[in-house]
Each structure stands twice: as structure tokens, then as C-alpha cells.
Symmetry: C2
Subunit: 227 residues, 2 copies
DNA sequence: GCTCGGTGAGTAACCACTCACTCACTAGGT
DNA sequence: ACCTAGTGAGTGAGTGGTTACTCACCGAGC
């Protein structure tokens, strides 16, 4: 719904001192404006006329840069959706067996990703609308992310530091804890309960303590009374 | 994308023994067919022509039953999205302080909800596309669900059974653990790791142990070696 | 003078929605 | 028993507006 007037303003027709932007500059400004619109309204909900207006150019020029609407959409997804660069620092922490740091790094990364509403909406829309690139992204993301975390959990369990849990289930559970909060807020409009970053420590502590806990002796119904 | 031929078949023109369906029956069959299409392709991605074809009637008749496409969509959301009936059994378990049962009931309910792809997609699409009813649903859902769970966690912490955690954060974390798994599978096409129901126990154990754990003595980097 | 950034004015297809109309059946008067 | 007026289910053939995309044509700078 929301337009992107800031971008359009940089490209207005000025009869005097006309610094005509190069093809690449134009392409970048088109992608920026279109990404915002696609994120807000989805692929079907966005018209090429709207995009052209937001950039400040004619529809015809839009089709000089991208042969079809779908090609523009694909270019945006390809640009926005990149494999994260977090693995180096995580691997270092993992080598040191610094569980807190491993989980904190991963949680922080997820929160940062989830806090970009444009990216979040773009990804959800593309998945729901069944765009091929979205499926590919998740396959890749899955490999570098969930598989790594699951592997770490399995290793720590073997070393006796964690309880014996299902590693992949646990990796997904941890990720879900983080992203659900962001999803509720960014997509469903539920008010944010805390600042995104200062909840990381709380999540990590809660989760790690669960992983490390020695199973308590079965004490069913410990303590009685109305809630 | 997928048509609903079964429904259409019941309403074909048969010169002999023509049992014309009543208005209410028609209305129900329209809602069923349209819900499947809206869930698959979203509001903007579904045409009234497609819906009429799926039901097996003319477009004109569709507009005799629902004044606009939007009204049909609203009727579907209103029907599909109902407040869950789970609170009675949960309250009983909560009164008995049966933590396992409280969390298991809630987890099971979330999984059952999340396992209906039509409902899940309908809800996500409507939230992304900004339909008013979706926001309302989540406000209601939030009250009866998250608030209750957070209240229970706070109470149990006060009684000394749980550690002192942020109750709302913890309630959302638990819910997120459950739904993320379903989201990955149903929306993003990540293969299911386990059957949905048999992961409940694993989640609950992991989470409850985290809540009950006595904070372990700080032991940074316990155990070394390559992963 | 030729390329490149840029456009106004289209076009065919598609969209939600309308209209004038048919058909099968029923209730009631005669 | 028969006519008839009414009713509700149902439709073919549109309507005006919108959509993605095209094309012939500019004007400025190298």
C-alpha cells in the first residue's frame, strides 16, 4: 500500500542540469521501489503501473529494463535473498564449545533477519504464491543453518554436555522460538513484547538450561491451589 | 489451483430427477470450493470465474449468493476462523498443576491447527494481504491463548515450580517451537522431520525441563575438540 | 548520425460485476 | 382438472475498467 516517494524524488525530470542516470542506477532504483511494493501487496497485488509511478518513470521504460513483471520479481528475490555470512564466527564458537555464544549468534542472526519486515513479507508472499526461487532459498538455507545447528546439538549430546534429544527437532524448536515472536509482530500485528535484541539472552538461557537439565525425578502435581 | 469436482458433480443439470440444491446447500458448496482456491492462490490470485467453475455454476449465480468477491472472502474467514474449544480441559489440568498435561494439550491443539494447510495458508494470506478479519482473529486468539499460558507460567514461577522467566516471552517461545515446525513443512516445503503428533512429547519435555532447571553452575567451554 | 534513455498512445486479454432473460415448480382461484 | 401468477434457481452475453506488455517515435550527447 505505502508508496516509496523518496526514491521517486531522485529521478524527477529536471530540464536544467539533467544528469540522466545510467542503466545500472535506474535498474537499482527500480528494484528498490518494486521490492517495497511486492513486499506490501504481493506479486499479484502489485501492478507495473504502480511500480513505474513509484520509480518516477514510464511503464514503457520499466519493460526496457526487465522483459516481464516476473523477471523483475525474480531479480528482486535473487538480490534480497542471500546466504548468511554468519558461519565463520559460529564455527569458531562451536570449536570452543561455547554453547551460549553459538546459540546467541544464531538467535541474533535470526532476529535481525526477522526484523526486516520487507524481507519477511517478501519471503512469505513468495512462498505462499509458489515462486520457484523461494523454495530453492529454503532448501539452501536449511542446509547451512538447520543442519549445522542439529549437528552441533548431536555432537554436544554425544559429549555428555546436552541431554539426548532429537537434534533436528531441537534445532527447529530453537529457531521457531525466535522467529515466531517476530512473525506475530511483523505479520499479525501483535504488539512487540520486548525489544527484539534483549530477548535473545532470555531465549538462549531458557533453551540451554532445558538441553542441559538432568531429568528431574517425576513429581506430578507438585503444589496445589487455584491459579 | 486444484479444482473441487466432487462438489460440482452433485449439481449437474440432469433432466430427469433434478434435485436442485437449496440456497443454503449451494452457499455451503460455494464456500468450500472458494476456500480451497483462496487458500491456494490468495484473494488477488483467485478469480470469480475460477470459483464458479469449481462449484459448477455460472458466475452470475455466484453473485446472487454473495454481493461481492470480498463478501465471499469475509464469509469464509468468519466460518473457518473460530475460537478454540480447548480451554476447559486445559483449565482442569492447570488447576491440578499438571504441567505436562497443560503443555501437551496446548501443543497438541497448536499442531492440529497448524496441520490444516488450507487454514494455515488462508490465515497467512489474509494477514499478508491485510484483511481486517485476520487482525481481529489474532487479537482474540492472543487473549484466550497466549495470555492464559503466560498467566499459568507466572503462577507456577511464583509457586517455585518454575524458574523466574518472562512469562509472555516464554509462552510465545513455546508456541513458536510448535508452529515453526509446521510452517516450515506446510508453507516452505521443508520435508517433515517426524509425524506431527509424536513430536509433542519431545517438545514438552525439553521445554518443561528448561523451565524447571536449577541454573547450572557456570561452566564455560566444558569439553574440547573438533565437532 | 547514431546510440541510448525516455515516452504517449495504444492493444488484446482479463477482471469483477450486471442485466435481461429462461426454466421448473408451487399455490390458489375457478 | 386446469389455468395462471409468482418465486427462486439458474444462465449467456454483455459492461466498463484494469492489466501486462508493445511500438513508433523523441531528444540529447558523443
Amino acid at each position: 500500500m505505502q508508496a516509496v516517494p523518496a526514491i521517486a524524488a531522485t529521478a524527477r525530470k529536471k530540464p536544467s542540469a539533467s544528469i540522466r542516470p545510467s542503466g545500472q542506477e535506474r535498474q537499482a532504483s527500480i528494484i528498490a521501489a518494486a521490492a517495497a511494493l511486492f513486499a506490501a501487496n504481493g506479486f499479484k497485488g502489485t501492478t507495473t503501473k504502480e511500480i513505474a509511478k513509484a520509480v518516477g518513470i514510464s511503464e514503457a521504460l520499466l519493460f526496457k529494463h526487465f522483459p516481464t513483471k516476473r523477471a523483475l520479481y525474480a531479480a528482486i528475490l535473487k538480490e534480497k535473498v542471500s546466504i548468511p555470512e554468519l558461519l565463520a564466527s559460529v564455527e569458531e564458537a562451536a570449536h570452543k564449545r561455547d554453547d551460549e555464544r553459538v546459540f546467541t549468534l544464531i538467535a541474533g542472526h535470526r532476529i535481525r533477519r526477522g526484523s526486516d519486515p520487507t524481507l519477511l513479507r517478501l519471503l512469505l508472499f513468495s512462498a505462499l504464491e509458489g515462486h520457484e526461487l523461494s523454495a530453492m532459498f529454503f532448501r539452501t538455507q536449511h542446509r547451512v543453518f538447520y543442519d549445522y545447528l542439529a549437528g552441533y546439538i548431536a555432537q554436544r549430546a554425544k559429549e555428555g554436555a546436552f541431554r539426548h534429544v532429537d537434534p533436528m527437532l531441537t534445532a527447529r524448536a530453537f529457531t521457531g522460538m525466535i522467529t515466531h515472536h517476530r512473525l506475530l509482530h511483523e505479520i499479525f500485528g501483535v504488539p512487540a513484547h520486548r525489544g527484539p535484541e534483549d530477548s535473545v539472552a532470555a531465549y538462549v538461557t531458557l533453551f540451554l538450561d532445558g538441553l542441559r537439565a538432568v531429568r528431574p525425578t517425576r513429581r506430578k502435581a507438585a503444589g496445589r491451589g487455584a491459579p
